[in-house]
């Protein structure tokens, strides 16, 4: 927050605001106020709470500029550089978390347990959208441990308030914490969880990305930051919790009980339907003095919202790393479009048709198999983060007969509005598509189809002309 403030990327709202509709509306407005994502918004006087005792911050990860600053990078660093810097290069590095005694942990400055637990007293929870089923925690990092295999996971899942001691948590079985919950169901035991809010900037990015089951997420965040994540003991659960969190909510989830949840305005820009989700009985809330509740609003992006920035980075890095092993010709992956529902792969195909098979590989990864329904493959000279270049590739290099592949009856993401089957037997269904725009390799003795490289002198003349007209480097 200090870094954002120093770079004028934090707007403080000092006037009193209502939890509804003001906080959600401000949060959404922060997505729209600038091209490329807006500043973080800190509301300091919330109606119904003593002035300054409870505050809310949103849009912390709401632009590439904000995230670049978190890494000490120039705010205008390109997205590809950001992803391929810390997130791909350090993806396999692990720095173990550092244990902090509970008495030294800022997250434990206030501890509330048992009958004293009151979610609304501790946290200024609010409804983002007019028709949301209730107040939501949308940026809470859920810590859980596999009750059979023993590995821990961090994941961000939507969490709705039921009452002052109970939350409802969305745990899809294909998410890592969902796997833990499935094992808890098998074992017939409640699942212990902790929800962390208000953390360092990297841990939520790691938590919102599709890491392989078994990944030590705290150590991965440490590797990316090149600095240990401080953790301490849970107050009532046997889980490591972030020692510097603004808030930690602890509790257990009954394996078999479900309650109505939703609708909620989702990252797809549509409301999801009412479902029946597991309940979390809250056993403890710990928080810092003068805590700040960090949250976000999922919404139709313009072109991106905070979800896209937050989840897009490591989703791209993860998918890239997973398919690069099988297809060394892959140069880059852009999965920043909402949660990787679409991905753009740039590559040099090693043989005819490899663009298509690399795309199929991406759609067979744990994340791609559920989320990704469209993969566009471009040649290595096309920047997959530059939409003008992608459209140019579609225009000039696509042969619809060879380049289009339609895959029927694939797994569907229930939150995807295109997957809804109104009035049909199946609740959801989804097909997938590959658009391979990579050019076939021309025969060795033919020049047709060889990519036109500019003369070597062109770059130099671009600089000369730029100086002559006093222009700036073009934006990607």
């Amino acid at each position: 927050m200090k870094t954002l403030d120093e770079h004028d990327r934090l707007v403080r709202i000092e006037d009193e605001v209502a939890l509804e509709p003001d906080v959600g509306a401000l949060s959404r407005a922060s997505n729209l106020v600038e091209q490329g994502g807006g500043p973080a918004i800190l509301t300091e006087d919330l109606r119904g709470y003593p002035t300054g005792e409870r505050r809310i911050i949103t849009n912390v990860h709401g632009s590439w500029r904000n995230i670049n600053l978190a890494f000490g990078l120039d705010p205008e660093t390109s997205t590809e550089e950001l992803i391929f810097g810390p997130f791909v290069d350090r993806r396999d590095e692990r720095v173990e978390p550092e244990y902090v005694e509970p008495s030294d942990a800022p997250a434990k400055q206030n501890v509330v347990t048992g009958d004293d637990v009151s979610l609304t007293d501790a946290i200024p929870l609010y409804r983002n959208n007019l028709e949301d089923g209730g107040p939501y925690i949308t940026k809470g990092v859920v810590v859980s441990k596999d009750p059979i295999e023993g590995w821990e996971n961090l994941g961000i899942y939507r969490i709705q308030l039921k009452d002052d001691e109970t939350l409802k948590v969305q745990l899809f079985p294909f998410h890592n914490s969902g796997r833990h919950f499935s094992h808890a169901m098998e074992a017939g035991e409640p699942l212990e969880v902790a929800v962390l809010m208000g953390l360092d900037p990297v841990t939520p990015i790691v938590a919102s990305s599709p890491n392989e089951p078994g990944t030590d997420d705290y150590a991965m965040a440490g590797g990316i930051m090149q600095e240990s994540v401080p953790v301490t003991d849970g107050e009532t659960v046997d889980l490591p919790v972030h020692a510097n969190a603004e808030y930690v909510i602890e509790g257990t989830i009954d394996p078999y009980h479900r309650e109505y949840e939703g609708p909620m305005g989702e990252f797809t820009g549509t409301y999801s339907e009412i479902k029946r989700l597991p309940e979390m009985d809250v056993s403890a809330i710990t928080y810092r003095d003068d805590p700040i509740f960090e949250n976000l609003i999922p919404a139709k992006p313009a072109p991106f919202g905070e979800v896209e920035y937050l989840a897009g980075i490591n989703t791209s890095a993860t998918l890239y790393s997973q398919i690069k092993d099988d297809f060394p010709g892959v140069k880059s992956v852009n999965a920043t479009s909402p949660h990787g529902l679409m991905a753009v792969v740039s590559m040099r195909p090693g043989s005819e048709g490899e663009g298509k098979t690399a795309a199929m590989d991406l759609m067979s990864t744990p994340h791609g198999s559920t989320y990704t329904k469209l993969v566009i493959v471009v040649d290595e000279d096309i920047d997959p983060f530059n939409w003008q270049e992608i459209v140019w590739s579609l225009s000039t290099r696509l042969h619809p007969g060879r380049g289009l592949t339609h895959i029927e009856n694939a797994p569907a993401l229930a939150l995807d509005p295109a997957a809804l089957s109104f009035g049909r037997d199946d609740r959801y269904d989804m097909d997938k598509m590959i658009i391979d725009t990579t050019l076939p390799s021309p025969p060795a003795d033919d020049f047709q189809g060889i990519v036109l490289d500019p003369r070597p002198e062109v770059d130099e003349y671009v600089e000369t002309l730029r100086e002559m007209i006093g222009g700036q480097e073009g934006e990607n």
Binding site: A18, L19, E20, P21, R47, G48, Y49, P50, E53, S118, L119, T120, D121, R127, L130, E131, G133, G134, P135, Q160, L161, K162, D163, D164, Q170, L171, F172, P173, G178, F181, S182, M185, G188, Y256, R258, E259, Y260, E261, P263, Y271, E273, I274, K275, R276, L277, A414, R427
Partner: protein
């Protein structure tokens, strides 16, 4: 005073919480459809699309599907 659910209209509702500063707001929950709202919101704006019909509630998916342990 108890409020009817502005989403589905039933009268069975509960107070979830009141504001830490007294008499500013009350948060309610519907016992039927589990909608949670604050009494300071403009509930006239809610649209009938979201009225949580019997059919919608009956068809609501359990996620993940409930599985009972074998005896």
């Amino acid at each position: 005073m108890a409020e009817d659910c502005p989403r589905c209209g039933v009268t069975d509702t509960e107070v979830v919480a009141t504001s830490p500063v007294e008499d500013v707001w009350t948060l309610y929950r519907c016992d039927r459809c589990e909608f949670v709202w604050r009494d300071t919101e403009d509930r006239e704006e809610l649209t009938p699309h979201f009225d949580a019909s019997d059919e919608e509630l009956a068809n609501a998916d359990a996620v993940p599907p409930v599985e009972y342990p074998e005896d």
